[in-house]
Symmetry: C2
Subunit: 494 residues, 2 copies
């Protein structure tokens, strides 16, 4: 998913100049409130080499009271540190009440750099996830506000920055042989980052991805995120004392800087009718063969279709299954939960539908309703949809551990295309049944849905359950991409 994040976002100089004084003032006030109310604060900075961690940390602390914060850089562990459990050097630096600890790289190095460079073995970094989650839960339970940033730049941008640094004699020393080696490992590292975000994101210690091509954009996003985290804690303490201290208020003020994946999707992709016909035939034949092998090998397959209203899910699924043996697959349409389903955990109705090993389940809409429609329409509480990311990641990891192939498709169209299709449906008597007043109402909330979808895409993408975005303005293209994705995922496993 990382490669799909819109890194072109920027803030112009004037806008930046207008915004910063207010943000600085607010942050200063909130720091003093945190000191008074004895709130310990932890801010973690992770990110690519040359993403600007140092500069951005300096910018953040510039206006803070230096008696009450401390910045620690996690360099390679010293001899003293290596002789202790890996969390030791961080534990002893956790902040006292009312203090702020800023970590320039942190315990996450174990599942990032150390994992990718293989300085630790797989069981070790796998186990580190457990220990890291325990650390953050223990600290959050004890009242710590935890904010975690991942500063994101593209491979191309990283290369450009290395070259710039090298070309200047006064900064050339900063680029090491190791840095160039890291550049080579960019993709592998990106996989580790996605895994990390899926496994260690939680409502009490959420990750914020910072688009760091534009320094001004990154600065504003970091300020707003820290302000929002402190403000929500202070408000919770004012409102209800300790009990509610961990409940966070809505981060609506972050919408203008929230991470977007959808903005980067190339919706011009299309296929000619001839190409379509040829490929459709080829992949439909292949999927039938694979269906048989899936059965023989007892492989469970779960395919999830999500997408905007009128994105073409139904037609797409039809093309996928057209040539398949109906005894080997099932299409499971998901609507609003019925009365019995409402009486259970929201995952219950999906657990019930888990396919037998050797079978394929195709979900037309899915458990992701929790973090889309239920979030946007307020059908569940904020605490509920916030913890759903973790619950969904756990659910899918359990499926993966069981050996399931998981394919998750987001059928993406733009707002104009949706309008065109809505109108077409309304005008065509054979399609009128497909369009309801609800569709029009949902459409009005497009922007809110977009934020929810973007957040869903990067919080629930993991190596064992990746999202595939299907560019769906052109249906031929979308159908072939979906088929191809399913075929490739199954082939990889067989």
């Amino acid at each position: 998913m990382l490669e799909n994040i819109d890194l072109s976002r920027k803030i112009e100089k004037e806008e930046y100049k207008a915004a910063m004084p207010g943000l600085e003032l607010k942050l200063g006030v909130l720091q003093r409130e945190a000191i008074e109310r004895k709130i310990p604060v932890i801010i973690v900075f992770e990110g690519w080499d040359a993403a600007g961690k140092g500069t951005l940390i300096n910018r953040l602390i510039l206006n803070l009271d230096p008696r009450h914060f401390k910045v620690s850089s996690a360099l390679r562990p010293t001899e003293e540190e290596r002789l202790r459990p890996f969390l030791w050097r961080f534990w002893i630096k956790t902040p006292a009440k009312g203090k702020m600890a800023v970590f320039d790289r942190s315990w996450y190095q174990r599942v990032l750099g150390e994992r990718v460079n293989k300085t630790v073995k797989k069981p070790e970094w796998l186990n580190a996830y457990k220990e890291i989650n325990a650390l953050e839960r223990q600290l959050a339970d004890d009242g710590n506000v935890i904010v975690k940033f991942f500063l994101h730049i593209s491979k191309k941008e990283q290369k450009k920055r290395f070259e710039e640094l090298e070309s200047n004699p006064s900064t050339a020393w900063r680029v090491t042989k190791e840095d160039w080696q890291h550049l080579q490992q960019y993709d592998e590292y990106a996989g580790a980052v996605e895994d990390m975000i899926a496994k260690t994101g939680s409502s009490h210690a959420p990750w914020t991805i910072v688009e760091a091509h534009d320094r001004r954009f990154a600065t504003v996003k970091i300020f707003k995120t820290v302000i929002q985290a402190l403000e929500s804690r202070v408000q919770a303490l004012k409102a209800g004392g300790e009990q509610t201290a961990r409940v966070q208020v809505s981060d609506n003020n972050l919408n203008d800087v929230s991470t977007s994946i959808l903005d980067r999707v190339d919706l011009s992709l299309s296929l000619s009718e001839e190409e379509y016909a040829a490929k459709l035939k080829k992949y439909q034949e292949r999927i039938r063969e694979l269906e048989h092998q899936v059965y023989m090998k007892r492989l469970p397959v779960v395919i999830v279709y999500s997408g905007w209203d009128a994105a073409g899910k139904g037609g797409n699924i039809k093309r996928l299954t057209q040539n398949m043996d109906p005894r080997g697959y099932e299409v499971i349409p998901i609507g609003a939960p019925n009365d019995l389903e409402k009486q259970h955990h929201y995952l219950w109705r999906f657990w019930k539908e888990i396919p037998k090993a050797g079978h394929m389940a195709i979900f037309d809409r899915s458990w992701y309703g929790r973090v889309m429609v239920e979030r946007v329409e307020g059908f569940c509480t904020e605490a509920e949809w916030k913890r759903a990311y973790r619950e969904i990641n756990e659910f899918e990891e359990q499926l993966a551990n069981f050996g399931a192939v998981l394919v998750k498709l987001w059928l993406h169209i733009d707002k104009e295309e949706q309008l065109r299709r809505f109108k077409e449906r309304q005008e065509n008597p054979y399609k009128q049944w497909k369009i309801t007043a609800e569709d029009w109402r949902n459409r009005e909330k497009w922007d809110l849905y977009k934020i929810a979808v973007d957040e869903m895409l990067y919080r629930t993408s993991s190596p064992h359950a990746p999202w595939t975005i299907v560019e769906a303005n052109f249906k031929y293209y979308a159908r072939i991409k979906a088929l191809k994705t399913v075929v490739a995922a199954i082939e990889r496993r067989l």
Copy 2:
């Protein structure tokens, strides 16, 4: 620890007859309240073969409204079930709001029977802990009250019951070849049970060990536990709505049936002066050799001394270290936290003291203060000490994963011996400094401390960090046992 639980406890017929009608009435009322308030309830029964699960479940549900509960027996999974993730068959049986699901054996079979019989591989049952904890957290977050019982009988008792069943023609069929085989594996199974309790006990889904030799005692304990769990949830809902629904009230009403380990300790154990002198010399020489090897092999060693006031911790530690090289070990006395320590997570000051690999840290009192003195004296909240069991288990598991040898000693004396020693101290001018008014105050709370110690012993005993109870009414014996335990633990690792 399981072998130290006092299984001799019983309730006499008259007492039982007097108590049950009230308990039955209360349970009935609470079931109706749970239905009205739409509280889903999960009750898990695990335990030894022939421990009486069936009978006790029947007794529990006898007075309940049968339209609102369901009992499921987890037999060996069917073909249908084996083709799905192992939690599937339990997920689909989770209760609707207002319903009660009783599980006669449950998802824990994966880490008990299936683990011990090796029907699943180690990575699988290790991973099952993670999935089980996710399941229970997800359900608790969704409002489920979760009560988990482990019905405990001794190996001898199990054998006796098998024989009784076999000797009666009408019940002989109930004892299978497999049962006898399980009896052979009793000790291995007991290790798995301890591991399970340490890894899956939580404040939202706590384990209750039921001493099941005496049917009446077991019945009363089960009733009281379920009543307490339902009552605390109903009260929380009445008091503050959803927010506080997971906070549980004190289980003071359970004290009379709470599990005791201390009651079984044989405090008559002693040593003659000659035996003592000979063994002391032998083990002190050995520990010095081991200290050297520990250093060469870079093994971290953590030794925890806990025990009653005047149990002889100081003198015991002195004998342990007398002959050791002071550069290889450190004694860390733990008192009340200082101002700076109070500003941090309670584990912070212990993290700071983790020994370097190759060194030994001897804690004179420890992090267990959280679940003893801080619990009893109210220095922390109930929510805090309840979650501390898990935090401590996580902390110690992290030490174990790092490779540390962990020895935890509870120096046990009885109340009379303590009184004798207190008086001796008061009368001896050289020892007067050792006794304070606080000691006398603590002594008055002996029974509350005993409950806390018992709970601590069984909730924090695990294969990688077991508790050793040191019978300390006789100091010679206690010193040799402590030395011997430390020596054996290090030898096992080297």
